[in-house]
């Protein structure tokens, strides 16, 4: 078990390709255990791409390829002996658009444990309750666990997805713009939840919302886009890590002018 403050995930010289196309280049960054790390940057700079390379979600995209080292607790995640199924169990993911299964609330949360072979009703009941409480959804749905997950409001659905993720007890939770489909109140609820979850979990969140990054995160990684004219009229663009620092530091005294212009909202 790594200590609080130690690195949970280390990326070293990571390049990601989609087919022949370079999407992000040479990303090196360390993500601390039980802290919230935010990825910010203009659209298309590769935040989601980097995030998805952390739990090998990119494996699902035909042609996607990761070079360099992604290390999780000292283990290279892309080593041949590593099974991506185990990686995704230990590094869970919450997506931009709430995506509950078309099943009951109970079945949504129990899905992961059932995949692992848990059959006992009592154990499942306990996991479901614990996870829903963990996602601060329990009080709202406890009377109606049989209701379809799709019948919940957007904010509730997103918290259901978080409950579903923590039901398999991951060590890291990756969130790709988890609040972008939510209204301010639901966003508030999810942000509050993150602050509680971070006591137990390492969290990485992609966000377009500067205030959100400042409100919730301990560290911020700013990604930016590099362009190169290959032949006239045909431009190559790829993402790079622009700056990585403690959130307060990055927002108060950014290193580069580009970062500063971005966080002031001048482009993006």
């Amino acid at each position: 078990m790594t200590q609080n403050g130690a690195y949970a995930i280390q990326l070293k010289n990571v390049d990601v390709f989609y087919g022949p196309k370079l999407a992000v280049s040479d990303v090196s960054l360390n993500i601390q255990t039980r802290r919230i790390t935010a990825f910010i940057g203009p659209s298309g700079c590769g935040k989601s791409t980097v995030l998805r390379s952390i739990n090998r979600m990119n494996d699902l995209i035909p042609g996607a390829r990761v070079q360099g080292d992604v290390t999780f607790q000292g283990q290279n995640l892309y080593a041949p002996e590593v099974d991506p199924v185990e990686v995704r169990r230990r590094i869970g993911m919450v997506f931009q658009k709430p995506n509950p299964f078309p099943k009951s609330i109970y079945d949504n949360v129990a899905y992961g444990p059932r995949l692992l072979g848990v059959r006992s009703k009592a154990v499942l009941d306990e996991i479901v309750e614990k996870s829903l409480k963990g996602a601060y959804l329990w009080d709202e749905v406890r009377s109606d666990l049989k209701k379809s997950g799709l019948a919940l409001s957007g904010g509730q659905q997103q918290r259901l997805c978080i409950a579903r993720t923590i039901a398999v007890e991951p060590e890291v939770i990756l969130m790709d713009e988890p609040c972008s489909a939510l209204d301010p109140i639901a966003t508030q609820a999810v942000e509050d939840l993150m602050k509680i979850l971070v006591k137990q979990y390492t969290i990485v969140i992609v966000t377009h919302n500067m205030q959100q990054a400042q409100r919730v995160s301990d560290f911020t990684a700013f990604f930016s886009i590099r362009k190169q004219e290959e032949t006239p009229g045909k431009e190559n663009r790829w993402g790079v890590l622009g700056e990585f620092a403690e959130t307060t530091e990055l927002f108060s005294s950014p290193n580069s002018e580009e970062t500063e212009r971005y966080i002031r909202g001048e482009f993006g």
Binding site: N55, M57, L60, V85, F95, F101, K103, Y111, G112
Partner: protein
Amino acid sequence: MSASVSQANLLPTGAEFQKGLARRNFRGSVWGRFYSLSLLVAILALIALVLNIVNSAFGYAITAYEVEPTALVAGGDVGGLDAEQLVVILQDYQERRLPVYIRDNLSVVDPSIFTQVPLSESLAGRTFPAELAAMTVTELTRDQQAAVLAASLSVDTLRSLVEVEVIGEQVIHPYALSESLFERSRIDAELLEALEDEPNARLEFRSWLNFEFLTAAGSSDPAAAGVRTALLGTLWVIFITVLFAFPVGVGAAIYLEEYAVPNRLNKLIETNIRNLAGVPSIIYGLLGLAVLVRSLEFITQGRTILSAGLTLGLLILPVIIINSQEAIRAVPSSIREASFGVGATKWQTIWNQVLPAAMPGILTGTILAMSRAVGETAPLIVIGASTFIVTDPTSPFAKFTALPIQIYQWTARPQSEFRAIAAAAIIVLLVLLLLFNATAIILRQRYRKSLQG
């Protein structure tokens, strides 16, 4: 400010805009009318089809009885008689044919030796008066023959014997529904004509589609023929078809969508499956004949239900694969990602999420394909469905006939009564198809509801 001014110059305004709008609306309404016209043509065609069938299936018919039912029993209804009474009627009117009835309905030995062996052998296993066991059928008195029939045959069998052999209803001339409604005077004139040859002739309104038609076996006598054998044949064949084509088709679709890497070979396979869906059904018939009926005879035992079911299964396999692929492809990737995201394996994701979400589409596609198979005639003719058969199929290895074959065969006959029962059989087939489609809709709704909770 300046931007909006310059735009005002580029885009039409005022009268010009109004003119343009009128033109756009006009164009829309022309297309709208054209489409509603196409729909009208389709609906008219459908109505014409239904009318045509109904027209032949119902209407007056001039019929005649060999023996008036009222002469047999007061009121003319033989349905209320018991076995004893029915046998008495048979004995009264068809005394000399009693041994034939015994042979056709009860004998367990070859017809050529039937009259030479004692009853204990020819009727082994049947119930009949024990004291007759040592005698041959020709040694029995008429009363004893009647007793054998009464002891062994069911009331239903005896009744149909009386109906066919004694009452012997004959259809002299059937009329279509339209003729019955609008040309009554001509029909009456023809009835008078018929009465000259056949003093028993009568005019009755007849629905060729009735309960007896559904439950009677095939027969060369149109008044007695029914569709039971063909209907059972069709159901058996379709059962085998679906049993084979559904799992194989869905499995192939899963492989192509989820496992196959998009390389050249797999693309070639996919393209060819699409082409196979367009191959004329008779080609599948030839394939079935060569492979299933001939080469695999040791398994299929020749021209059996199994051969037919598998042939139709091959025929609809591409359609099922294509439909299932579409359904699987339509499952939103967010569901897959969610499943993988909590640590599901590929198969767990397919089994728990993709297949249930795709199932409404898969079922609809399968049942529509099934409907197509039910109506197929050409491949069944090629692999040699029996054209005349009166025994119900009881296993996949039975010889069989099927509804479309039966219809085809009846319509090909010269006598107009057969056309009337063909129309009735077409109605049966259509109702069967409607049932399938209704099932498809219900299943789809049910699934959709269970998905949305």
